[in-house]
């Protein structure tokens, strides 16, 4: 399958579009349907497509497993960190209203950061799962 020229070329064109769409879903999530979880899945699907056509080894060169592990942890830390900052600023855990000057700006900032954390972790964990299972399939 990876020998097919059409697949290779189309994949090269499609991957950036998929990633861009993922970012759109991510950063427009507070106004429209979407958010971190969906964006993370879409983001990882771009790399899944790349891995299906160019092979897992090529994908791990682009995005090594070690990086994904760090990303997965950082996403959770970002999420928890926002909560801790709101605790320190005198609110309850994850109360975004105290994050900025006005409650509205605080809510806005809070939800974007939280969703970013979710997105990073979901994208990384999806790819880690894929790598883990894909590596057990012997190459033909």
């Amino acid at each position: 399958m990876s020998e097919s020229l059409i697949l290779r070329v189309v994949t090269k064109w499609l991957v950036p579009v998929i990633l861009l769409f993922a970012l759109y879903v991510q950063f427009h999530g507070d106004y429209s349907p979407g958010g971190g979880f969906q964006a993370g899945v879409i983001f990882s699907s771009g790399f899944l497509l790349y891995a299906l056509v160019y092979g897992v080894d090529a994908t791990t060169r682009v995005l090594p497993e070690a990086v994904l592990r760090i990303g997965a942890c950082l996403g959770v830390l970002l999420y928890g960190g926002v909560g801790v900052v709101s605790l320190i600023r005198g609110g309850t855990f994850l109360n975004y209203s105290v994050l900025a000057e006005t409650p509205v700006a605080g809510q806005h900032l809070g939800i974007i950061l939280i969703e970013l954390g979710v997105g990073i972790t979901v994208a990384c964990v999806m790819l880690l799962l894929f790598y883990t299972f894909a590596r057990n399939i012997p190459p033909q």
């Binding site: 592990r69 760090i70 997965a72 942890c73 950082l74 959770v76 830390l77 928890g80 960190g81 909560g83 801790v84 605790l87 609110g91 309850t92 855990f93 994850l94 109360n95 975004y96 209203s97």
Partner: protein, 499 residues
């Protein structure tokens, strides 16, 4: 004080990814120790605060309940939080040496990260007042405990973990379905809100379906007979530290959630007129007889203790099924006492395994002479398991007996006594093998050459004896455990935490 509540969940939430990121086994252990110690102190402070009957409410994200998620802490869940955090701290101390031998070096930091996540999940389950939030924490603790069990040193650990995964996922799915039905009927996920408006929809057929789904899901997680089949394998194959922690906390938290759902989500008058109390009694009695019977037949100490856990969980289910205040007190206090007892016994089993590389009684004959301290812990822990006066086990069984007599339920009394006799038999089986049989030449397995097999475990022995001392202390001075249990049972029977 309220502000500290959420820290119980936040500390492990921040620390777990850090542990996984830093990827150093000493840092991982240190962070786990810190998390255990910090959460234990906070849980103790909370218990001090609520033991008089006060109820703490904490609103997450500043959203008012019933729309937002709230944590509600009364005497019952503060006691559960103390149990969970105390055993987290003790298991980390205990596991310092044994984990390094039983878990592969490259996985050590992930092991400790997963351990902190289990702690996070169990604490969340204990604290939350929102039933969907409870499901999320249930999943966090379950998923990470599957990973912990799979890290056992034998390949069978993978099978045990997989079986637990299937059973646990079924349980969680049933629980979620129940929540879904309940939400469809009531339109809310806040436990207090569901309970307070219960009359408006209790005639709907959905509600009883929801109750059954929630019950079966939780019974699977609590390993109530006949849904216990995942437990013996999981406890036998898991690394010793995980067995100590899970055996003394995870099923207890599931029993706690069962109590919480039966008294604070569904009103007691609603389910006590169904067949449910008799069904709980049947499950509990059969569980304690079957568990004790199977325990007598086992050769591996860990497996024997695991089956004895099935039996002891039967006692707790019976306490709920008796449906009176004394019975509930007995259940709650038995959660605490059994955690101490089983914790001590599994620690002793872990130390035997660390030193002898086997837990088979057959191969441990006469080990009482080579390991007097560890086998001494078996004796005292075993006495507490039987319920000999002067040990913690006696207190809870005494209350359970009283509760059964209050209801004039002599069938329960009879099975309690038979199960206790069977407990004497399986504890005697351990003691006979360790002290009275002729010494067996040890068959050592998987010992790298040049390793000191008689290595002592000072820290682990200390933890084990702390619990052994607690077994005796809480058998003689029952102020803390019994007061908390009584306050909890009273508030449960009064119907819901005060708003």
């Amino acid at each position: 004080m309220e502000a500290y509540t959420v820290l119980l969940v936040v500390i492990p939430l921040i620390s777990a990814p850090l542990t996984a990121l830093i990827a150093n086994r000493h840092v991982a252990w240190g962070l786990s120790l810190l998390v255990g110690a910090a959460t234990f102190v906070i849980a103790l402070m909370l218990l001090q605060d609520v033991i008089t009957g006060r109820v703490i409410h904490y609103e997450l994200g500043g959203w008012k309940p019933p729309w937002g998620i709230e944590y509600v802490i009364d005497a019952l869940n503060a006691l559960v939080a103390v149990i969970v955090t105390a055993f987290a701290l003790l298991s980390v101390l205990f596991g310092r040496q044994s984990v390094e031998r039983e878990v592969h070096d490259s996985q050590l930091h992930l092991f400790y990260a997963a351990f902190q996540l289990v702690l996070l999940g169990l604490l969340g389950m204990a604290l939350t007042g929102d039933i969907f939030n409870l499901f999320v924490f249930l999943e966090i603790s379950s998923l990470s405990s599957y990973a912990l069990i799979a890290m056992g040193h034998k390949r069978q650990a993978l099978v045990a973990s997989f079986n637990y995964l299937i059973a646990g996922t079924l349980g969680a799915t049933f629980f979620l379905l129940g929540i879904g039905f309940l939400y469809a009927a009531s339109g809310t996920l806040n436990m207090a809100d569901i309970a307070s408006r219960f009359e408006q929809y209790d005639a709907m057929a959905l509600v009883i379906t929801a109750l059954l789904f929630i019950l079966i899901g939780l019974a699977l997680k609590a390993a109530a007979f006949p849904l216990h089949s995942w437990l013996p394998d999981a406890y036998t194959q898991a690394p010793s530290m995980v067995t100590v922690f899970l055996a003394s906390t995870s099923t207890k938290v599931a029993v706690y959630v069962l109590i919480r759902c039966l008294y604070h989500v569904f009103p007691q008058e609603y389910w006590s007129q169904l067949l449910l109390p008799s069904f709980l009694l049947l499950s509990g009695c059969l569980g304690m007889l079957y568990g004790s019977y199977k325990a007598i037949q086992q050769d591996s100490i860990k497996r024997l203790l695991a089956y004895s856990s099935v039996a002891q969980l039967g006692y707790m289910i019976v306490g709920i099924g008796l449906n009176n205040e004394t019975g509930l007190t007995a259940t709650v206090v038995h959660m605490f006492n059994h955690a101490i007892t089983k914790g001590a016994l599994f620690m002793a089993a872990g130390m035997v395994f660390y030193r002898m590389h086997t837990t088979s009684l057959h191969q441990l004959r006469g080990a009482g002479k080579t390991m007097p301290w560890t086998t001494g812990a078996f004796v005292i822990g075993g006495l507490s398991l039987i319920g000999v006066p002067g040990t913690a086990g006696f207190i809870s069984k005494w209350y359970l007996l009283q509760a059964a007599l209050e209801n004039n339920n002599y069938l329960v009394v009879a099975s309690l006594l038979i199960a206790s006799i069977m407990a004497i038999m399986y504890v005697w089986k351990i003691i006979e093998a360790l002290y009275f049989d002729g010494e067996e030449k040890l068959h050592l397995h998987q010992v790298p050459s040049g390793q000191d097999i008689v290595a002592a475990m000072p820290l682990a022995t200390l933890c084990c004896y702390l619990l052994v001392a607690a077994c005796i202390y809480f058998g003689l001075y029952t102020d803390l455990s019994l007061d908390a249990a009584k306050t909890a049972a009273q508030s449960l029977f009064a119907g819901g935490p005060a708003r």
